[in-house]
């Protein structure tokens, strides 16, 4: 099965920048002193360099003759950023104009109010004919799967990455960030325990037939995952599902409280409040610098995102079987 190439945008502003988002600039060619005025040692600025590096890997797929044929559109990580029905409609027609397939991405940890937003968008997509033609909907909340099955059975549900609870070992790829293993009251040699742990971190819940069979019964035939350095154990039949990987941004953790919003109301850094969010994440990043972990971690709004480095190379070299690459030219928030 040929790899399908999708591109993912969280809103129309970003989608309208698609051409520019795919334009490569070689930051390495900027004189180093000069480069520092745009790209200082600030975790927030790592995003731009990372995005251009990702384009070089995307180019490898283009060279193999692949082209984008699917638009992913929507918001996974914050219900305050869910695009409205007008944007949904525009994005759908945008994909039609390009002759692409369409996937509406819904979010995780939706409140009842968030669910209402999703329902309005599904209603709009139904109205414009997306359901009738079998467009996809990524669900990251089990409540969304329930309403899809009940009210919108024409959409193809895709199990989203937020519902994949696999441990992300991305923080422990580089020395000296060793795999943390508390070796207390254990009889087995440490090396063997760690080997078993890494194998366990690759062996995800989907590998249980009881679970995957029920997903099939509910019409779930596609799953999207994050790339992890330990890899993901997948049976030969691929769970009977097509598998998509997001690249280059994965998430390590996410929340409803938000450090970026905490800059405007300190309590929002820790608590969920009734006050509406002014959405400062659309203007600036607010990232933690974690000195022992010299890795590209960026906090965008509610989500701690990580840029996939060397461990993602096999995904571009045909060494790992999967069916879809979901390219994120920006952190999708």
């Amino acid at each position: 099965m040929e790899l399908e190439l999708a591109i993912y945008f969280p809103n129309m502003k970003r989608l309208n920048e698609m051409e520019d988002s795919l334009r490569y600039v070689d930051i390495q060619k900027v004189q180093s002193g000069l480069a520092a005025v745009l790209f200082p040692m600030d975790p927030n600025q790592a995003e731009y360099v990372a995005n251009t590096n990702a384009l070089t890997w995307l180019d490898k797929l283009f060279q193999q003759g692949l082209e984008f044929s699917r638009l992913y559109f929507g918001q996974e990580f914050c219900q305050n950023l869910i695009p409205g029905p007008n944007e949904i409609e525009q994005s759908y027609y945008y994909s039609k104009q390009l002759g692409w397939n369409y996937t509406y991405v819904t979010g995780g940890y939706l409140t009842n109010a968030g669910m209402e937003k999703v329902k309005r968008n599904l209603e709009k997509l139904k109205e414009v004919g997306a359901e009738a033609e079998g467009a996809e909907v990524v669900f990251n909340d089990w409540g969304v799967l329930r309403i899809l099955r009940r009210d919108y059975p024409g959409f193809k549900p895709v199990l989203g990455r937020i519902l994949n609870k696999q441990t992300r070992l991305n923080m422990f790829v580089y020395a000296p960030n060793e795999l943390p293993t508390l070796y207390t009251d254990i009889q087995t040699p440490l090396e063997e325990v760690q080997k078993n742990q890494i194998a366990a971190y690759a062996d995800i819940s989907l590998n249980n037939p009881e679970y995957v069979e029920r997903l099939h019964e509910m019409g779930v035939e596609n799953v999207d995952l994050d790339i992890v350095p330990q890899g993901t154990k997948r049976p030969e039949d691929g769970w009977g599902m097509t598998l998509g990987y997001y690249y280059p941004w994965g998430f390590i953790a996410t929340a409803r409280n938000c450090p970026t919003s905490g800059t405007t109301n300190p309590y929002r850094a820790f608590q969920v409040t009734e006050e509406p969010c002014p959405r400062p994440c659309q203007k600036y990043n607010c990232s933690p610098a974690i000195p022992p972990l010299d890795i590209p971690l960026i906090q965008r709004g509610t989500a701690l995102m990580i840029f996939h480095t060397e461990y993602s190379e096999p995904y571009f070299e045909g060494k790992i079987p999967y069916e879809r690459l979901i390219f994120e030219p920006y952190i999708p928030m």
Binding site: T111, R146, N207
Partner: protein
């Protein structure tokens, strides 16, 4: 309303007697079988407390004793099998573990992973099941999804990151279901959503949230959209880039025209405050939802979770404090604050588990 209290491996039946005397009625515990431990270590655990021996029983006889002890003293006990992700290789051991649990006659299981739920169904385990906070049911539809799939669900553990009004909306939307509702009320509040944090909990190093909470945060404006044009100019015109009015000059001025607000300082301010220092109160209570209890009671929450597995130093005092609020007819803000006895802690709203409207406190 009642309290459900987490027990660690050092808790004995005689401790349970004390906790019951202080107001706890229900308990939850975790267990890591020896065979599991020798294969996977502590970090890949069958529940969410994978930080080492203090958090879980790992000896069958101690497990039997504590479950029996709880029942003998009139309490109830639920077993936490709420690891988020359980591959097929582990599921056989989960099955063995549940077979053992069934012989102990616990009152229920706390489960997070749908794969475990479907397996339990297949294995014929029909004992009461609580939807762990690790499932992440933030809306009524999600709760209904699980209640339709698994008829033995009797309780929803409401995720931490919801406002009281959002919780009310969920509960009000599920009046036709016979469900109990449980909330976390005190102790460590995960920085990220528990169910959406995919790093490692280990006793070997600080957790990811510890890294983040102790990190220095920097706020930086995102680039104006023409940044690639500017980079190309810098490549082609490195010398001219330094001139006033160059695209680089203009870009930086636009980019830095406003300074984003800094990340707040979350230190406790003690000057002129009565009672114990805020940091010390934080060590005792960590995050506190006492002021919210009367509102939680009003919206239909019945169970208050005190998740202190492994926190043996503070447990007795915290249980006593929660119990006093839980049993008070009208636990006002002033009453709760008098029990905490730290103006510094209580004046810092980031100490609060939930937002409670000022006018209603």
């Amino acid at each position: 309303m009642f309290m459900t209290l987490g027990l660690g491996s050092s808790d004995t039946p005689s401790n349970v007697a004390k906790f019951i005397e202080l107001g706890a009625k229900e308990f939850f515990i975790g267990y890591v079988p020896r065979a599991w431990l020798d294969k996977f270590g502590w970090e890949v655990g069958p529940n969410r407390r994978t930080m080492g021996p203090a958090y879980n029983y790992s000896n069958v006889s101690e497990l039997r004793d504590i479950v029996k002890g709880i029942h003998d003293y009139g309490g109830t006990v639920n077993l936490a099998v709420n690891a988020h992700d359980n591959g097929a290789d582990r599921m056989g051991m989960v099955h063995d573990m549940l077979d053992l649990f069934e012989t102990l006659n616990p009152d229920g299981y706390i489960v997070a992973d749908p794969a475990v739920m479907y397996c339990m169904k297949k294995w014929g385990i029909t004992r009461e099941m609580h939807i762990s906070t690790g499932v992440g049911c933030f809306n009524s539809e999600a709760v209904r999804f699980f209640c339709e799939e698994f008829k033995n669900i009797t309780r929803l553990v409401i995720p931490r990151k919801l406002t009281i009004n959002e919780m009310k909306s969920i509960i009000d939307g599920l009046k036709d279901l016979k469900l109990e509702y449980e909330v976390m009320i005190i102790g460590y509040r995960c920085y990220f959503n528990d169910e959406d944090c995919h790093s490692i909990h280990s006793g070997k190093r600080r957790n990811l949230c510890g890294d983040v909470l102790s990190a220095h945060f920097t706020s930086t404006n995102r680039f104006p959209s023409n940044w690639k044009d500017v980079v190309e100019y810098m490549i082609e015109h490195p010398r001219e880039s330094l001139n006033e009015g160059s695209p680089v000059d203009k870009f930086r001025k636009e980019w830095l025209a406003t300074t984003p607000p800094p990340y707040p300082n979350f230190e406790y301010k003690c000057a002129g405050c009565q009672g114990v220092d805020g940091e010390l109160a934080h060590l005792m209570f960590q995050t506190c939802g006492l002021c919210a209890i009367k509102y939680l009671r009003q919206i239909g929450v019945e169970a208050l979770k005190v998740p202190l597995r492994g926190d043996e130093e503070t447990k007795l005092n915290v249980v006593k404090t929660v119990s006093q609020v839980m049993n008070a007819e009208n636990p006002t803000r002033e009453f709760c604050r008098s029990l905490i006895n730290s103006d510094s802690f209580c004046n810092s709203k980031f100490s609060c588990y939930y937002e409670v409207p000022e006018e209603d406190k």
